[in-house]
Amino acid sequence: MTTALILLPLIAGLIVGLVPLERRMTEGLALLAALVECALGVVSLIQFDADKGTQFVTDKVWITDFLGIADVRFHVGMGGLSLFMVLLTAVGVAAAAATASWVGRERPRIYFALLLGLECALVLLFTARDIVLFYVGWEAMMIPLYVLIAVWGGEQRRRATLTFFIYTLIGSLLMLVAVAWVGIHGNSFQIDVLTGAGLDSTWPFLAFCAAFCIKAPLFPLHGWLPITYRQAAPETTALLSGVISKAGAYGLITIAIPLFAPNAVDLRWWFVGLALAGLLYGSLIAFRQPDARGVVAYSSLGQMNLIVIGIFASLPTMVGSSIAGPVVHANDNGITGAKFQMVNHGLVSLAAFLLIGLIELRCGTDAFKYLGGLANGRPVISTVFLITALFALAVPGSAVFVSELYILIGAFQFQALVGAAAACAIVLAAMYMLRWYSALVHEGDGPNVSPQTPDLRLGELGIAVPLVLILLVLSAYPFGVMERLGGFG
C-alpha cells in the first residue's frame, strides 16, 4: 500500500509529462491521479490499526552492504503520524492541482508532472523507514519545487529560487554528513534500529536539526520564507506552507529527537527559547504585513514555531516511550498537540493560500491597499474567508483550538512562563487573522475591486470546500486523529 502511494504519483507524473495530450486531458489525468492518491490514503486510514506501530511495510534491499557498513534498504511503512502526513500531502496536492487547472497554468504537461513528482518525493520522505531513503525523498522534493518556483513564480522568482535553495540545501547537506555519521556509528541505516542504538553526539544532532529547522522554519532560520512565499505561485506557496514545512517538524519528531535523545534533552531549552521567540516575532510581524500573503506567511512561521515548542516541551518525559504505546496520557500533551497541529495548520494554510490565489486571479494583487469590500454582493467569498480565518485563529470548538490547547498545556507543564508567553501569542493570532479578513472583505471597495469582480464560482468552491469540510470533521471528532498519532519515533 505504501509503495503504491509512492509510485502512483511518479508513474502518473511520467505519463502526464511524456505523453503529448491536450491541455484538458493533461489536467484531468493529473487531477484524477491526485484524487486516486487521496482515495488510497483514505483506504489506508480505514485499514490502519491504531494499536500497532508501523504498518503497510515494504522492505527490500536497495544497496547490499553499502561500503561494508550495512544494507541500504527500500524500507517504507506508515505509523500514525506518517499516515496523516501522507493524507495531508495527498489532499494538498489534489487541491493544488485543482487550483492550477482552474487558473490554467502555462505548459500544463511539465507543470503537472512536477507537481506529481513533488507528491512522490513527499510521500517517500513521510513513509521512509531507512534514513538514506528519507534523505532521498527530502532532497528529491527540492527539484520539482525549484522548477515550480523558478518558472511559474512572480517577478522576483529568480532571487526567490536561489534564496530558498541555498538556505534549504545548506541544511540538507549538513544532514548528509550526519547520515554518514549515523550509519558508521550506528552500523545501520534503519531508523528503527538507530533509535535504539544509543547514539549520543551533539554535532550530528545539530546537523539534522539544521535541515529540519530551516525547512520548518525555526526562528531565526526563516530568511527564505517571506520572499519565497510571496514569489511562488499560490498553489506552490500553499504546498510549501501547508505540507512541506511539516516535513521539517516530521523530521524532528521521527529522526532527530529519537536518534539523539540525550542531546535533544540537553538542548531542549535552546529550541523552546528560539521557538518562543519565533512564535512571538512571527505573530507580531504578521500583524504589520501590507499584503494577504505576508500575513499568512508570518502566521505560518509563528504556528510552526508553536509546533516546535510543543515537540520540545514534551522532553524529557516522552523520550523512550514507544510509538505503539498508549497515546493520550498525562505527559505527552505537547507532542500530541504538535502533531495534531501539523495536520490542522497544514489544512488551514492550504485553504488560506489557495483562497488568496483566487483573489489574486480576480484582482491581480494581494496588497491590502488595493483590496477591500469583497463582501459586498459576494456572500460566498466572505463566508469561506470567515470560516478559514476562524480556523486560523483557533476559535474554541475548532480542531485548531484543540491542538493549540494541547500544546499550551504541554508548555505549561514544561515551564509555566513558556506556557504564558505562548498563550499571549495565541491572542495575537486573533488580531492578525481578523485584520486579514477585514482588510480583504470588509470596508469600501479597494481600487482593484469593482462591482463586476465575480464571487467564488462552483469550481472554485470545489477547491476550498473540501479543505474546510475536513477541518470541520476534525473539529467534530479530534480524538479520531489524536489516538492514532503516537509519540516520538
Binding site: G68, I69, V132
Partner: protein, 484 residues
C-alpha cells in the same frame, strides 16, 4: 600474490588499443578524408569495445605482478581501465561531426587510443619507471589533442600551457622517484614498502614522497597544482575536454592511491595530512573560482578541481571503504562530466563560438531532452538525489567519517554549498521562461552527441537506482588493493 614473469594476456587491453592506433596510422593515409573519418571512428569504437571485453574477460582473475614487478594487474587498476575505456568510447561519439575533424580524423583518433592506453597502463603500474613512462605516454598525446584545433588561438594556448606545466609536474615526479630510489634502493612499490618500513622519517624518503604527490597532483588537478586546468579545458576541443576531464583524473587518482597505499603504508599519517591539505585547497580554490566564470567550459573546469577535493578525501581515508568510495565516485564522475561536456559540444556547434552560461537561456524550450539531461548532470555534480552524484557523495562522506576525517566531509559540505550557486545557474538559465530563442539548426553530429548525453544521463540515473553492480565491482577492486 602470484608473480608472472611476462604475461601479454595481462596487458591485452593496452595491446588492443595500441594495435588499433597503429592500424589507423598505417591505413588512414590511403583513404579520402570522409572515408578516413568514418574508418577512424569505427576502428576507435571497436578498439575501446575490445579493450573493455578484454578487461571483462579477465575481471575475476587473481591479482598478479607481471613484467618483473613493474606491473600489478589487479581489479583496482583494471576497474580504472574500464572507466577510461568507457570514457573514450563516449568521447569518440561526442567528437563525431566536429568541423576540424575533416582533415585530422586519423591523428585525433590514434592519439586518443594511445592516450587511453597510457592511462590504463598508468593505473596498473607498480614501479616508478612504468608510472613515468605511462604518464608521459598519455601526457604527450593529450598535449597534442588539446592543441588539435590549430586554427583556434585558445586551443594552441591551452596546449602550450598544459605542456609547460605538465613537463614541470613530470620532472618533479621523476625527481621524487629518484629520491625514493636513493633512499630505498627500489623502484617497485612493493620493494619500496619493504625497505621503507624501517625508515619512517628518512629525509630523502619523505622528500621523495612529497615530490611524487606533487608530481601526480598536477595530473589530478589538485589545487594549488591546477593552474593549467582552466586554460587547457577551455582551449581544448570540447570532445577532448570531455575525455580529459573524465579519464585523466581516473588514472591519476588511481595511481596516487596505489603509490601511497602500496609503497608508503607506514608513512600514511604523513601523506594523509598532505592529501587532506590538498583536498581542502581544491575545495576552496575550485569552487570559489568557478563562481566567477561565465564560460561554461571554464566553469566546469574549476568544478573538476572542486571534485578532486572529494576524490582526495576518499584517498586520504586510506581504507578499503575509501577505495570503494573512490571508484564509485570516479564512475559517476566520468559519466556526468562527459555528459555535461557533450551538451556543451552540441550547443557550441549550434552557436559557433564558446558557450557562455547565458547561451543556455531558455534552452529547455527548444531542446527539451538535452536540457533535462543537462539539469540531471548539474544536480548530480551538486550531489542531489535522485542522481548517482548523491550516492557518490554519501559514500565518500561515510568513508571519511569512518577514518576520523569528518572535518574533511564538513569542508566538502561547505564547498558544495558554494558549488550549488554556480551549478544551479545553468538549470535556472535553461528553464528561463523569458528568454525563448528560435530553434537553431541542428549541426552535423547533433544526433550522435545528443545520444551520448542521453546515455550518460540515463547512466547517472541508473547508477542511483541500481548501484549494486558497480558497488560490487568497486568492492572487488578495493579488496584487490588492500587485500582481505
Amino acid at each position: 600474490m602470484s608473480t608472472v614473469p611476462v604475461s601479454f594476456s595481462g596487458i591485452a587491453p593496452e595491446i588492443v588499443l595500441i594495435v588499433a592506433a597503429t592500424a589507423l596510422l598505417l591505413f588512414g593515409v590511403f583513404l579520402s578524408p570522409p572515408a578516413a573519418r568514418a574508418f577512424a571512428t569505427v576502428v576507435t569504437l571497436g578498439a575501446f569495445v575490445g579493450a573493455i571485453i578484454a578487461v571483462a574477460v579477465q575481471w575475476d582473475d587473481a591479482a598478479h605482478y607481471s613484467f618483473e614487478h613493474t606491473l600489478r594487474v589487479d581489479a583496482f587498476g583494471r576497474g580504472a581501465g574500464l572507466i577510461v575505456f568507457s570514457a573514450g568510447l563516449l568521447a569518440t561519439l561526442v567528437a563525431w561531426g566536429t568541423p576540424w575533424m575533416r582533415e585530422r580524423a586519423i591523428e585525433y583518433h590514434s592519439l586518443l587510443l594511445i592516450g587511453a592506453g597510457g592511462m590504463s597502463l598508468l593505473a596498473i603500474s607498480n614501479s616508478f619507471v612504468t608510472v613515468f613512462v605511462a604518464l608521459e605516454l598519455l601526457s604527450i598525446c593529450l598535449y597534442i589533442l588539446v592543441a588539435m584545433d590549430s586554427n583556434e588561438l585558445l586551443s594552441l594556448e591551452g596546449g602550450l600551457k598544459y605542456l609547460i606545466v605538465g613537463a614541470v609536474g613530470a620532472a618533479l615526479l621523476l625527481y621524487g622517484a629518484a629520491l625514493v630510489y636513493g633512499s630505498t634502493g627500489h623502484l617497485e612499490f612493493d620493494g619500496v614498502a619493504r625497505v621503507a618500513r624501517g625508515q619512517g622519517d628518512d629525509a630523502l624518503l619523505l622528500g621523495g614522497i612529497a615530490l611524487v604527490i606533487v608530481g601526480l597532483g598536477f595530473k589530478a588537478n589538485a589545487a594549488p597544482l591546477h593552474m593549467w586546468t582552466p586554460d587547457a579545458y577551455e582551449g581544448a576541443p570540447t570532445p577532448v575536454t570531455a575525455f580529459m576531464s573524465a579519464a585523466t583524473k581516473v588514472a591519476a587518482l588511481i595511481v596516487i592511491t596505489r603509490v601511497l597505499v602500496t609503497a608508503f603504508p607506514d608513512q600514511s599519517d604523513l601523506w594523509k595530512n598532505v592529501l587532506a591539505g590538498l583536498a581542502i585547497a581544491s575545495f576552496a580554490v575550485g569552487n570559489l573560482a568557478a563562481l566567477r566564470q561565465t564560460n561554461v567550459k571554464r566553469m566546469l573546469a574549476y568544478s573538476t578541481v572542486g571534485h578532486t577535493g572529494f576524490l582526495l578525501t576518499a584517498v586520504a581515508a586510506d581504507s578499503p571503504k575509501g577505495a570503494e568510495a573512490l571508484l564509485f565516485y570516479l564512475v559517476v564522475y566520468a559519466a556526468m562530466n562527459i555528459g555535461a561536456f557533450a551538451v556543451v559540444a552540441v550547443r557550441e556547434r549550434e552557436i559557433g563560438r564558446p558557450v557562455e552560461v547565458r547561451d543556455f537561456n531558455g534552452y529547455a524550450y527548444s531542446r527539451p531532452v538535452l536540457s533535462i539531461a543537462m539539469i540531471i548532470f548539474m544536480l548530480s555534480l551538486a550531489g542531489i538525489p535522485p542522481t548517482a552524484g548523491f550516492l557518490a557523495k554519501l559514500a565518500v562522506f561515510s568513508a571519511a567519517v569512518d577514518s576520523d576525517l569528518a572535518y574533511l566531509a564538513v569542508c566538502g559540505v561547505i564547498a558544495t554549498m558554494v558549488a550549488l550557486v554556480y551549478y544551479l545557474r545553468i538549470p535556472l538559465a535553461v528553464i528561463d521562461r523569458d528568454a525563448r530563442r528560435p530553434v537553431a539548426e541542428p549541426r552535423p553530429g547533433y544526433g550522435v552527441a545528443s545520444l551520448t548525453a542521453g546515455v550518460s544521463a540515463l547512466a547517472v540515473l541508473a547508477l542511483f537506482l541500481v548501484p549494486g553492480p558497480i558497488f560490487d565491482m568497486a568492492r572487488t577492486a578495493s579488496t584487490s588493493l588492500f587485500g582481505g
